[in-house]
Amino acid sequence: MTSIRTPLSSTALISPLIALAAGELLHVALSSVRVTFSGVLPVWLSFTIGVLDSSVVAALVLLVAWLVVQFSRSKDAPDVEQFARWLRWCTVACIAVLAFPSFRVDGIAWVIVENVVVGVLIAGSAWAAFVLLRVVRSYRTARTAVVLRSLGLVMLATIPLRLLEEYVAPGSLEVVYVFQGMVVCVLVVLLARRRRWLNDYTRAHRWGIVWWCCCVAILSIIVATQLFDSSSMQSSTLRQWLIGTELLVGYVYLALATYTSVALATVVSSGSSAARKTFEFDAITFFNRVVSEHAQPQQLYDTTVSLAVALTDATSAVLILHESEQWEIVATAGLDIQRAAALELHAAWGGTMPDEPVVVPYLQEDEHFYRIARSVESYAQSLMFIPLREGSVCYGGLVVVSNVPFAFEQSDVSSLAAFAPAVTIALANQKLLYTAIERERLHRELMLGKEIQQKLLPTAIPPLNGWDVAGWSEPAMEVGGDYFDYFVLGDGTACVVVADVSGKGISAAFYMAKLKGICLALAPLCRSVQDFVLRIHRVLDGGVLEPRVYITLVAVGIAPAGSIHVMRAGHPPPLGVTTDGQVQVIAPSGIALGMVETERFAMLTQLQILEYQQLSTLILFSDGLLEIGLPHANELGLEGIQRIVQRVHANNCTAEQLMHNIRANLDAMYGATSYHDDMTMVIMKRPTTQD
């Protein structure tokens, strides 16, 4: 037997037999006392014993009926093999005694034997009733349930007909026998359909069950034919009534129907187990083929639910994905998404997906689902859940639903559990694939952003009031916050700007784009470099920048008259190369844009005017250039840049050539591949003709 949790132990199953045996022994004892001392006992005592005898037996029979009903409500398969072992030899012994009349003995011994036989039979009938109730219960809402109930009523109706036939018109109602036989056949077929739990037993156990069922059926027939004529039987009132009203005939039919159907289902389930295993294998193979053909996610999800339905004979299935504490129904089969959502699985399990398979045999009786059971009754009465987990990662869960109660047994759990790993691996692969695709898409978007940002920078700068200008900018990531540009101000001053937005990446890039827009809008309105920078600050101070964002900027203006105006707002100071080759740091005081209000900014940020005749070259750069070498080596620093410029500068080279020489030096020193920060450099070179 496969491992199965069963509260229905053999002791529990045997309890009706124990109760009846005790009742029969008590009955025999009381009857013997009454018969033996019939002339001695006072009438009232004899009467009391008789009442007590009948009451005890009646109470015990009621107890048996109650036990049977309780067992039939069990959610798991009964431990039928153990039960069969208990009753097997009792039944065989009873058949032997009844089949060979020569075994008969007279007197009280035979009374005891007969009582034991009837006890075994009633225990067997309890078992038959248990199986019958369990099966009828599984048909509760289906059309078959109506058929079963109708058959039950018809069987009851035939009892008075048979009594009539027996006592009023013997031989006139033979059609009733034929009809009852037909009803038994129908019962056998209907009952045999719902024996999925038999798949939980091994082949040897199943054949044990068949063997016992046949014994009980034979015993039933023998008892029905022999005990009618038995006059020696010292019967209790209840049993006399049982035999007298032909209920025993009904019992024989019941036993025949039940045990024959169990035997039939057992034989069928042997074959169906093999077929089921083959189907499981085929389903997993088919699923793997779908996955290997690079199915789209939805195709994968749809295939999963379709196969889940086929594997478990469910009426519908739902696939739920679990991500970031969210449950999302991604596919359904046999019901629409609204109906799947109405099951309220998330609420039923308190938002936590179960770690282990869960079978809910009957929604109306489940503590988590009884509230919604009525509203979903038409399509969901039982369900089964299998988690889709790989290690500690939960990808989701697969839910199969049936419109009848008790539709799922252990074998269904096993089937779906065998299928689940393939689904989990497919989902994991799908997730990896789509993460890679998403990463690639983001990379493409960032590269597009880089391309757009590069277009915000001037590609070629024309001579500005006679000066030769070259610029270069390289973000550390795909996009950055460095910016350089040139503008012609309202007074004709050619102004070169290098700026750096604090931070890196996309947010810095957006501010850089904003800054360009502000500069373009303001430039024609400004009458000087100082005016330009102050106006830029005023705009930024008006809520453009977040509190933690600031912009450093250096602006160099070449007035039409030739003077050079420098404003530095917290930016690394530019370098100036004098006509005699000396490299100087040009560092007017200043504070970054966006740090203080405009009045204070105007006070702190000074304008420096340079002598035109003394300078041949101006080099503007961002702090990325200062920090080349970090974090693994010493940074270049301002002195390092000064040394490089000193080394490569030549009066007769162009701005572009000087830029190339400086970058070649940097590449030789630090390598060209990885920059720590965004880097920008602009070189302004006075034309040699004006030296």
Partner: protein
Amino acid sequence: MQNEFSAQVKTAHDGRVTVVELDGYLDAYTAPEFDTLLEQLFTSGQVRVVVDCGSLEYISSAGLGVFMGHIEQFRSSGGDIVLCALSPRISAIVEMLGFPHIFRIFPERSVALAVFDRQGTTH
């Protein structure tokens, strides 16, 4: 590339002043950690803060932006953020930006702590 960074929170002056010791690299990757720390200090009412940069090896514009993002908040609550023990490199960076116009910066922690003794939070 993720660089090492840590921020140790200590108290001084019987808990009236909070000292934050920064260590390592305060850059775009580690700035959010420091930002969260300052936010927590502000939320818990610890608005008199001395940031000791003695072990700070590097600070980027994103790191400096964290100071900018919180200074007004702390001052409007009667506190301040005071910097101390800056290395020459970091000192050069903050001076270039114009930080000394906004923040009080002291060479030693004891001097920075004394600021809160002397004049409370007046800036």
